[in-house]
């Protein structure tokens, strides 16, 4: 059974599609990159997959996973870094599935949190408020939380943006570790080299799907050119879409 099944999915805002008629399946354990220009709908697609944006049309099936089996790493702008919370407590929120509203954080959980913080190379930062971290350190913290979420499906939205090469390498190693553990990883990315070298499967997105398949076959100059030419602006006077959505790019 597919880990993720997209059936004629249209996602968007105010009836304007940002992702248009997308069909596809992701096998369990796949390592999928989503690439495309700014405004191509990458973040929108990820929001749809994790369930915080409802599709305008079509459906997204998660192969029996519920929302707690998904870890989502958004672009960091959504986080209030001025809130007085320590690295330890912030990473600890990743244990929500186990603790819920009231569950205590016992010795075992504390050790887990400390191990996750160590795994991203931030030992010694446990008591620092998150507001004092650099951009790269904050990204490490977010990865530590994803580690703790222990999710079957991991959705990463441009996780390596504005991150130096050392941090990128460390965090990419975690992504490959998750892949090795059989988790499904779905990541929006910009770095073609990274996609080519590390991701087995690629979706080229430009509102609609340009291509989706094994990275080596999909990541061609032609496909990238098609994606680049995508028109970015919504058309305010667009008519209602009549397409039945069966069409799909190669």
């Amino acid at each position: 059974m597919a880990a993720l099944h997209l059936h004629n999915v249209t996602l968007g805002y105010d009836r304007h599609p940002a992702v248009h008629h997308l069909n596809g399946e992701v096998a369990p354990g796949a390592l999928v990159a989503v690439i495309g220009p700014n405004g191509a709908g990458k973040s929108t697609l990820l929001r749809g997959i994790v369930g915080i944006l409802r599709p305008l049309d079509g459906s997204i099936h998660l192969g029996g996973l519920d929302s707690r089996d998904i870890a989502y790493l958004p672009q960091s702008a959504e986080i209030d870094r001025s809130f007085p919370i320590s690295v330890f407590d912030f990473v600890g929120t990743g244990l929500w599935r186990g603790t819920g509203l009231f569950g205590g954080i016992g010795k075992a959980a504390r050790d887990k949190i400390l191990r996750a913080i160590a795994a991203v190379g931030l030992s010694g930062f446990e008591n620092r408020p998150i507001g004092t971290l650099s951009g790269g350190q904050m990204q490490r913290v977010l990865f530590a939380r994803v580690l703790l979420q222990d999710a079957r499906l991991i959705v990463l939205d441009e996780p390596f943006n504005a991150i130096d090469s050392k941090t990128t390498a460390d965090l990419l190693a975690l992504v490959k570790l998750w892949h090795g553990e059989g988790r499904t990883v779905f990541a929006a990315l910009h770095d073609m080299e990274m996609v080519r070298n590390h991701f087995t499967e690629t979706l080229v997105l430009a509102r609609g799907p340009v291509a989706w398949g094994p990275t080596a076959e999909v990541l061609t100059p032609d496909n990238l050119m098609v994606a680049m030419r995508m028109c970015e602006a919504f058309d305010d006077s667009a008519a209602a879409c009549g397409e039945d959505g069966r069409s799909q790019a190669a």
């Binding site: 994790v50 369930g51 915080i52 929302s67 707690r68 998904i70 870890a71 989502y72 958004p74 959504e78 986080i79 209030d80 809130f83 007085p84 919370i85 320590s86 912030f90 929120t93 929500w96 599935r97 603790t99 819920g100 509203l101 009231f102 408020p129 998150i130 507001g131 939380r145 979420q149």
Partner: protein, 289 residues
């Protein structure tokens, strides 16, 4: 002498004891709420809510005169109505919560003042606007204490989702549906505590014993738990000192309490350990690492 000034009023007069008990109850419940209001950048929302309570309290006043029970019930109903309506409008239309609330509270305040002035005198209006903690009877004190207890219990229940929703709302939405209910419960707590403060400080100053202590705490700690403790202590000390000041100088009690808190606040802005002005101006030599 010192005993006469600081303790005498409370041993001698029952209304002072009741007032002291009331401000302490207000401090324990209101200050933590104020800390969250501040951290969620909702300080002015609290202020707006305080005004939103007015028409309900005014209807209570219209029906049964200066009866604090009726006014409390009315205030709660109006406050909840405005909080929930504003929350629903914001969540379902994408209008920012502050804008949504501003429209509701302006309408509410205008309606409230109109209702009070239709029936009452200017003195009634003053009482509604600024409260009178010294006129509190046993029943009212029990209401205040009950509301404070409920606040602490509910806060304990929603504490975790509330914290996570404050720092990373998107994350909470992906792992749990508790965010929305926690947010609404928090707004309800804001209303309960405003109504509570309303008895003592009136509609204009009710939010003072919530926000000022929170502002004070912000200058002394970067830790949420410590901030809440500092805020509670700051509120209780301000309440006590304000009552003493009010008793000795015949200044109205509500403004006296808020002015004492303001003095602490100014002191914290100047000398606070976290971001205080003096500390910024004389930070000392920079460290090695």
């Amino acid at each position: 002498m010192i005993h006469d000034v600081l303790i005498g009023p409370f041993t001698e007069f029952e209304f002072m004891r009741r007032a002291l008990a009331a401000v302490i109850a207000l401090s324990f419940a209101g200050a933590p709420i104020g800390v969250f209001l501040m951290l969620r950048r909702m300080s002015l929302v609290g202020d707006a809510m305080a005004h939103a309570i007015l028409p309900g309290a005014a209807v209570g006043f219209l029906l049964s005169g200066l009866n604090l029970f009726a006014m409390t019930a009315g205030g709660l109903i109006a406050g909840f109505a405005v909080a929930i309506l504003a929350g629903v409008v914001a969540r379902s239309t994408g209008l920012k919560e502050d804008a949504s609330l501003a429209t509701f509270y302006l309408a509410s305040l205008a309606l409230g003042v109109t209702i009070v002035s239709i029936k009452g005198t200017n003195i009634d209006l003053l009482h509604v606007l600024f409260g009178n903690i010294l006129a509190m009877d046993d029943q009212t004190l029990l209401v205040v204490a009950f509301n404070a207890t409920v606040t602490l219990l509910v806060l304990a229940v929603i504490y975790r989702p509330l914290v996570i929703e404050s720092v990373d709302p998107l994350f909470l939405r992906t792992v749990s549906r508790a965010g929305g209910p926690a947010h609404l419960a928090f707004l309800a707590l804001v209303v309960i505590n405003l109504v509570n403060g309303f008895q003592a400080l009136g509609t204009l100053l009710a939010v003072g014993l919530m926000i000022l202590p929170a502002g004070i705490a912000r200058f002394w700690s970067r830790d949420l738990t410590a901030m809440i403790c500092i805020a509670v202590i700051a509120a209780a000390v301000s309440g006590y000192a304000g009552l003493v000041l009010s008793f000795q100088t015949r200044v109205p009690s509500g403004p006296a309490i808020i002015l004492v808190a303001t003095v602490f606040y100014v002191g914290s802005v100047l000398f606070g350990r976290v971001g205080g002005l003096v500390r910024q101006m004389f930070p000392g030599r920079h460290l090695e690492a």
